[in-house]
Symmetry: C2
Subunit: 221 residues, 2 copies
DNA sequence: TTATTGTTCAAACGTTCGTTTGATTTTAAG
DNA sequence: CTTAAAATCAAACGAACGTTTGAACAATAA
């Protein structure tokens, strides 16, 4: 019966260490192979826990995905909300948005990939869950473009086009990274993300300027 | 195996009806549920063929995906090549690009979704296959931005950022459609895609203008 | 006709899937 | 110490997975 039984984990709360390990393993594996291609045994092995712990803590494999998407989305929503609050001038808003969003996506790139890849998938188990997240995302789109200096009376269809476009600009780099890494010699260091912020900001600024010219007050379509 | 000797390639050849039905079922199901979440029995049922026909004609489930991605990509490459050939003036090139790409993505929206969703996924079976497709895609990026009026000496890292951004602008609408349909009242009719072409063209034009200002001859980074 | 080749199919292959069970150990409080 | 709840585990569950088999069927040519 011996001595030790000392969980020398450096984790904050050792009580949640296994639960957190499962989540971290899910983020890693889902982003690499996709949700459906990952088995619970893969997750358990990566997290160094027993298989049954996944159902015990998250109610099943889908529960792990839900937790990942839910926390990622709520953090991103909170970020957007803060930017909207402190920015009144459109150009300033775009600058603040990109300055905040790029580091956020850099920090949560794997969650962003999971989010993007699982978005159009109808998995019948978490479909209604995702539908709710998406509706919230679209309200964010409205907020963003109301502050970006685009015409107030701009019809919903226009926002439904510009919203996904701008959102995809922000995370397309992470979606393509496995490709761009080798071919364009892109390395994920601070210097690169400085350039990245600059380029994305330039693209969005130019796009908004041109959109104002084409779809401004005159109502030309 | 199953290498057929085809003398005639007419569309209504009943000899290919089952093979084509399998491919069509794969496009439908993969785009709705994702490759890994679709079983061979689902494909067989959707196509009204026997399960073994999938291995017989395509060598397995992965073979169906390979065929879908391969033909989609070669068609898209051909489209880009033609546009590059007939356009010398940058603004004209962008206009031609969008005018051709939007109907193409509309026509092949399900293949585009499959392409986008499977892109970052490392499935160990078709990884090398996709890697080859991706390298070709990046060469398309080079062509596109060499003709878009961006500085010739533009460094590769810049193309590695702008390329994915512009590409994602083109297909983000289809990725988000399950969401935008309900919330923004978007219907996939000719009138909408007329607006869509217009908006995408405006975004890209404005972005290129601003990129030329910021990253032009002066070499400012 | 017979021989040959390409299709089609029901059935079965072995493997892996996500989840649950039931017992055991650990934890924390009375 | 006693006791009850929480956590952990090996094992097993039935279902679904992708693929293959071997025979039957269809079409063509000699």
């Amino acid at each position: 019966m011996a001595e030790r039984t000392m969980p020398d984990k450096t984790e904050a709360d050792p009580r949640d260490s296994k639960k957190d390990a499962i989540l971290e393993a899910g983020i890693k594996l889902f982003s690499e192979k996709g949700f459906a291609a990952v088995g619970v045994r893969d997750i358990a092995k990566e997290a160094n826990v027993n298989i049954s712990m996944i159902s015990y803590y998250y109610g099943g494999k889908s529960g792990v995905l839900k937790e990942i998407l839910s926390s990622f989305f709520s953090e991103y929503s909170e970020l957007i909300r803060k930017i909207v609050d402190i920015s009144d001038d459109p150009p300033v808003f775009i600058s603040n948005l990109v300055d905040a969003a790029v580091p956020f996506f850099r920090e949560h790139s794997r969650q962003a990939i999971i989010f993007a890849v699982e978005m159009p998938v109808d998995s019948s188990d978490i479909t209604e869950f995702k539908a709710e997240k998406m509706r919230n995302l679209l309200n964010l789109f409205r907020k963003v473009f109301a502050h970006a200096g685009l015409p107030e009376g701009m019809e919903d269809r226009l926002i439904g086009i510009i919203g996904p476009s701008f959102f995809s600009i922000l995370f397309s780099h992470f979606l393509f990274y496995p490709v761009t890494e080798q071919t364009f010699g892109i390395r994920k260091n601070d210097e690169f993300y400085e350039l990245y912020r600059n380029v994305v900001k330039t693209i969005m600024t130019g796009a908004v300027k041109e959109l104002q010219l084409s779809f401004g007050r005159t109502g030309i379509s």
